[in-house]
């Protein structure tokens, strides 16, 4: 009798444990994990037991059962039931969980997949009230289940609930020495997961096997903490507010841009952590909860899931997507508060505040509307005027109205705490000078910050009279919570803390860590002035932002996306269009508002898909692969480079270097153009050299066709790497089609970038098929009609917009006509472009106001229609 096992294989843990517990006599032989022991199985499968009869057992559970029986322990019905459950229910769940943990680096998602099976197991244990699964002694079932769960339960950071599954965590190890003999004692716990996963899937999909152990060790273990001698990058994307469904503008502005950079950074070999989460506290949530008859926590749970789902569809690859309503948030926010307090950066003042007597509450800024004191815009919000962009103190509004009941609020006074920004200003300026000169701040971020400083800083109130928020720990303010602008950015820290207990290695490590903040420009002041002041004042060696990356606005067709007014296509509708996530990503990144505002347009999306993706990029890659398949039986032909080929390679290298230079500076849209340039060069090269003709010629010509094909298919391989940050699925598909090794890009993206031949002569490629589909005109027209061109309003604003005002409409109609004539006249006179543009903008604005006054655009929001 001989037992074959391999290092680091958790199924082998089962049989080794059974051997230890039963003491059955058996030789153990360690073999390579890809060695074929069982002759009739298609894939290498371990452990395996060679029986005295010459038969092989390949099921770990059957082997365990045999070892127990040899020692005289027969299995009961109950035991057999646990074994069956382990094989049919627990193993698939483990597989899924490990897939998340290892391949996607989301260890924090493990509980989602395992909670169900763990609860079932826990119930089983609690029902019987015995020490072990089937009685008072260790049985076969205990060994099998313990060993199956060991890799996940032994991982402390996974926090697979000691509280939620008390009985499971009490199950004792079959032997306390067993850890010593574990086959994976040399590796860290993440690697145990990785190897475990590998072995589980090896049985089903052999392609995972080529992810060598070491590779996994490096990529998995470098994820979580900063490392000496590496470029350590902490990446955040502005926290989306929980009760809005994000629209395309939000997605491109923060999460998608940050995701591209994060994937790029990993390609470059940087040590990188990408965190984000939902911002959940505040009045808006309280209000939404009141509307839907739920508690604020329930609202947050509901919408957090909506967000997570949308980002998953867009393939946003967070290391951790958390939320701000956690204990860590309270702990860290209160700590920063006390430190600010101790160092004298908080001042007390009495504030005049608006209170709505009919609603019986103090009104948060966004629930007051009135006329802007600066520019007289009639619909200014309590915190900011949408027209002139200035911040407003709600009591300064003229003719204020409660947004909920339309009553006029009264002014009341209440005691509050303020962050003393003027006192922190010298420190702030000193830091800003350094950070903006050494880091990659976008021009708009620098400019917005400068203008804030130029206007002079004033103390900012950090407390609010609300319930749904982080409580202020100071006894004099115990009925109050922190104002969201103070609280929300601390979410970055607390979300990281929920990801790893060693969060301070990221957040209190400015000498080793570079912090990138991604956001849309409206968020700049909070990240460049206000939040840094909180952290500077806390004097705790916090990591401050090194690179502040802000986008401009993305418009929707000819109107505006707006978070508060709910105009535009929303994240959850994108997938209903049937257009693949990668194509959405491509187009949004192609029109990324980088340096100036840009617009989403359905027609343009179709054009870019058909011209750039289908005819340019996809066509080139497909031709390169097809030539290899059709003319060279699927093997890359030998290449003899001539002057012309070298010229092309030089061109391609130059484009690659440009791409890297731009990406290093987070010029995501500009870098994309260089990818498309490469495939354009490639198409031309193929067109000029006509390998499909040369292949039919003499030896020299055939040789030439081979070189052209070989060079092209290698360029296609390079493209798959360059595309990875933009279109992860397409990138993977190309690599699969070319059968290119997972690590094929590593060398090319080092340093300034070098294009090297990765698919050598003789390399066998996989099956080639088209990458993209044409978007037809009628399809796009139908989508345009279905989703808009017309504005979309969320629940809040419908009430407001419904207030039809015929008098105002009449005046506006008049104004629109006049303005239209003015524009036409200017155009006819061939006036300066800037002048015309300004007048057109006025005209559009008037038209919009008119539409609102006429009560148009109040169709139900499409997110409600999507299930039609």
């Amino acid at each position: 009798m001989k037992l074959f096992v391999s290092e680091g294989n958790p199924h082998c843990l089962k049989v080794l444990a059974a051997l230890e517990v039963t003491g059955a006599p058996c030789d153990v032989q360690y073999v390579n994990h890809d060695e074929t022991v069982v002759p009739f199985l298609s894939r290498p499968t371990l452990p395996a037991l060679l029986l005295p009869s010459g038969l092989h057992l390949f099921s770990p559970n059957a082997i365990c059962q045999y070892l127990f029986e040899v020692k005289g322990q027969e299995s009961s019905d109950l035991c057999s039931q646990w074994l069956e459950w382990e094989a049919t229910d627990l193993q698939p769940a483990l597989l899924q969980a490990l897939h998340m943990a290892v391949l996607q680096g989301k260890a924090s998602n493990l509980p989602k997949f395992l909670q169900g099976p763990l609860n079932y197991l826990d119930q089983g244990l609690s029902k019987r009230d015995t020490t072990y699964l089937t009685g008072e002694a260790v049985s076969l079932a205990d060994v099998v289940l313990w060993a199956a769960l060991y890799p996940v339960l032994s991982e402390p950071s996974l926090a697979l609930g000691k509280q939620t599954t008390p009985h499971v965590s009490k199950v004792q190890f079959p032997s306390h020495d067993i850890k010593q003999m574990l086959p994976f004692r040399v590796m860290c716990s993440e690697c145990v997961l990785a190897v475990c996963y590998m072995n589980v899937v090896a049985f089903r999909s052999p392609q995972i096997l080529f992810l060598g152990l070491i590779e996994i060790h490096l990529c998995v273990c470098s994820l979580s903490l900063p490392q000496e001698g590496k470029r350590n990058i902490l990446l955040t994307s502005a926290l989306p507010y929980v009760n809005n469904v994000p629209h395309l503008g939000n997605i491109i502005g923060c999460v998608l841009s940050a995701d591209v950079f994060s994937r790029y950074g990993r390609l470059r070999g940087w040590n990188l952590l990408f965190v984000c989460g939902t911002d959940e506290y505040g009045t808006a949530t309280e209000n939404k909860a009141r509307e839907e008859g739920l508690t604020p926590q329930q609202i947050c749970d509901k919408y957090h899931a909506v967000h997570a789902c949308i980002y998953e569809w867009f393939q946003i690859d967070f290391d951790f997507f958390g939320r701000t309503t956690t204990e860590k948030q309270t702990e860290i926010a209160q700590n920063i508060f006390w430190r600010l307090h101790k160092h004298g950066f908080l001042v007390e003042d009495t504030v005049e505040q608006l209170r709505c007597e009919s609603c019986q509450r103090f009104l948060a800024d966004r629930f007051v509307e009135g006329t802007c004191p600066h520019c007289s815009y009639p619909e200014a919000r309590g915190d900011q005027c949408d027209k002139c962009g200035r911040l407003i103190n709600a009591v300064e509004l003229r003719e204020p109205q409660c947004k909920v009941c339309r009553q006029t609020p009264v002014v009341r006074s209440s005691k509050h705490l303020f962050l003393d920004l003027p006192k922190l200003e010298p420190q702030l300026e000193q830091w800003l000078d350094r950070s903006t000169s050494t880091g990659d701040w976008t021009a708009n971020a620098k400019q917005i910050t400068r203008s804030w400083l130029r206007d002079g800083l004033k103390p900012r109130c950090i407390t609010r009279d609300l319930k749904w928020g982080t409580p202020v720990p100071h006894p004099d303010f115990k009925e109050k919570v922190f104002y969201v602008w103070f609280d929300a950015p601390i979410g970055y820290l607390s979300i990281t803390a929920n990801y790893t207990d060693q969060w301070e290695k990221w957040w209190k490590n400015p000498s080793q860590v570079e912090l990138y903040n991604f956001m849309a420009k409206d968020n700049v002041p909070f990240h460049s002035v206000v939040f840094p002041c909180s952290l500077l004042g806390a004097q705790d060696n916090y990591t401050l932002v090194s690179h502040l990356v802000a986008t401009e606005y993305l418009n929707y067709e000819d109107t505006k996306f707006s978070k508060s007014r709910g105009v535009g296509v929303f994240g959850d509708m994108a997938k209903d269009t049937g257009i693949p996530s990668d194509v959405w990503r491509f187009y949004l990144l192609y029109v990324r508002p980088e340096g100036q505002d840009s617009a989403f347009s359905w027609a343009d999306m179709a054009t870019k898909n058909n011209s750039e993706l289908l005819n340019n990029l996809g066509n080139f890659i497909n031709r390169a692969g097809m030539f290899v398949t059709k003319f060279f039986e699927g093997c890359v032909p030998p290449m003899e480079l001539q002057q012309e080929d070298k010229k092309l390679l030089a061109l391609v290298s130059w484009e690659l270097q440009q791409y890297i230079q731009l990406m290093d500076k987070v010029k995501i849209r500009d870098a994309l153009k260089h990818i498309l340039n490469i495939s354009r060069h490639g198409n031309q090269y193929i067109q000029v050299n006509e390998p499909w003709k040369k292949i039919k010629g003499g030896d020299a010509e055939r040789q030439r066709a081979g070189t052209v094909t070989g060079v092209s298919v290698n360029i296609a391989c390079l493209l798959s790497g360059m595309l990875l940050p933009y279109m992860p699925t397409v990138s993977q598909t190309i690599r699969d089609q070319l059968n290119a090794p997972q690590s094929c890009h590593n060398a090319m993206f080092e340093g300034t970038g070098t294009f090297v031949c990765t698919l050598r002569a003789g390399h066998r490629i996989g099956t080639v098929s088209p990458l993209f589909q044409k978007l037809e005109v009628d399809q796009i027209e139908a989508l345009k009609k279905r989703f808009g061109g017309q504005q979309v309003f969320d629940v809040y604003d419908v009430a407001m917009v419904n207030a039809v005002d015929p008098e105002k409409a009449k005046q506006l109609t008049q104004a629109v006509t006049e303005q239209g004539e003015k524009v036409r006249a200017l155009k006819a006179q061939k006036a300066e472009k800037a002048v015309v543009t300004a007048e057109v903008a006025k005209l559009l604005d008037l038209k919009k106001q008119l539409a609102a006054a006429e009560g148009k655009n109040t169709e139900p929001a499409p997110q409600k229609n999507k299930k039609k």
Binding site: L51, P52, L57, F58, Y66, S80, T88, R204
Partner: protein, 173 residues
């Protein structure tokens, strides 16, 4: 599906009074309400229990070794055959074909529970095979034909014609 298998098995075992079953979960896992104790869950678990009830334990294997082999193929049946994809089907047939090359039964030289449940589970796969494929997996086909003609096994399943009529092969008249 699993419930019909269990009822066929009961008939094969000539159990006098049929048991009452229910199912649980999305995957419709069979549950047997047991008079004297907790309910039993899972196709294999219940099938083993029925065999013991009918005092036909030789169907679970005569020795520790063959009991382990029977267990292994029962597990193979519920983990690999249930819910398998097209690609899985090929792998499964290939593996079984190789395994059955020098065997008449899955375990030992006699019929076991592994054969019965494997036959019930693989029948829908065999029905869909083209003639050429049946020839490709000739050992599986032979074993399968043996099973469906084994006295008392076939029960709820219609017979499948597995071998090509040899009368006209190779000659064109």
């Amino acid at each position: 599906m699993a419930l019909r298998e269990l009822s066929s098995l009961e008939k094969y075992l000539e159990l006098k009074k049929p048991n009452k079953y229910s199912t649980q979960g999305d995957k419709k896992v069979p549950v047997l309400q047991n008079n004297n104790g907790a309910p039993l869950v899972g196709l294999v678990t219940i099938a083993r229990h029925l065999v013991k009830e009918a005092k036909r334990t030789e169907l679970l294997g005569d020795s520790a070794e063959s009991r382990a082999v029977v267990h292994q193929w029962l597990e193979y049946r519920v983990t690999r055959l249930n819910g398998c994809t097209k690609d899985d089907i090929k792998t499964i047939l290939k593996e079984l074909n190789l395994y059955l090359q020098d065997k008449s039964y899955l375990a030992e030289n006699q019929l076991t529970l592994a054969d019965i449940l494997m036959y019930y589970g693989i029948q829908p796969l065999i029905v869909d095979l083209a003639v050429q494929e049946k020839e490709q997996y000739v050992n599986v086909t032979r074993w399968f034909d043996h099973m469906q003609h084994y006295p008392g096994v076939r029960r709820h399943l219609p017979p499948v014609v597995v071998l090509r009529n040899r009368i006209y092969t190779g000659r064109h008249h």
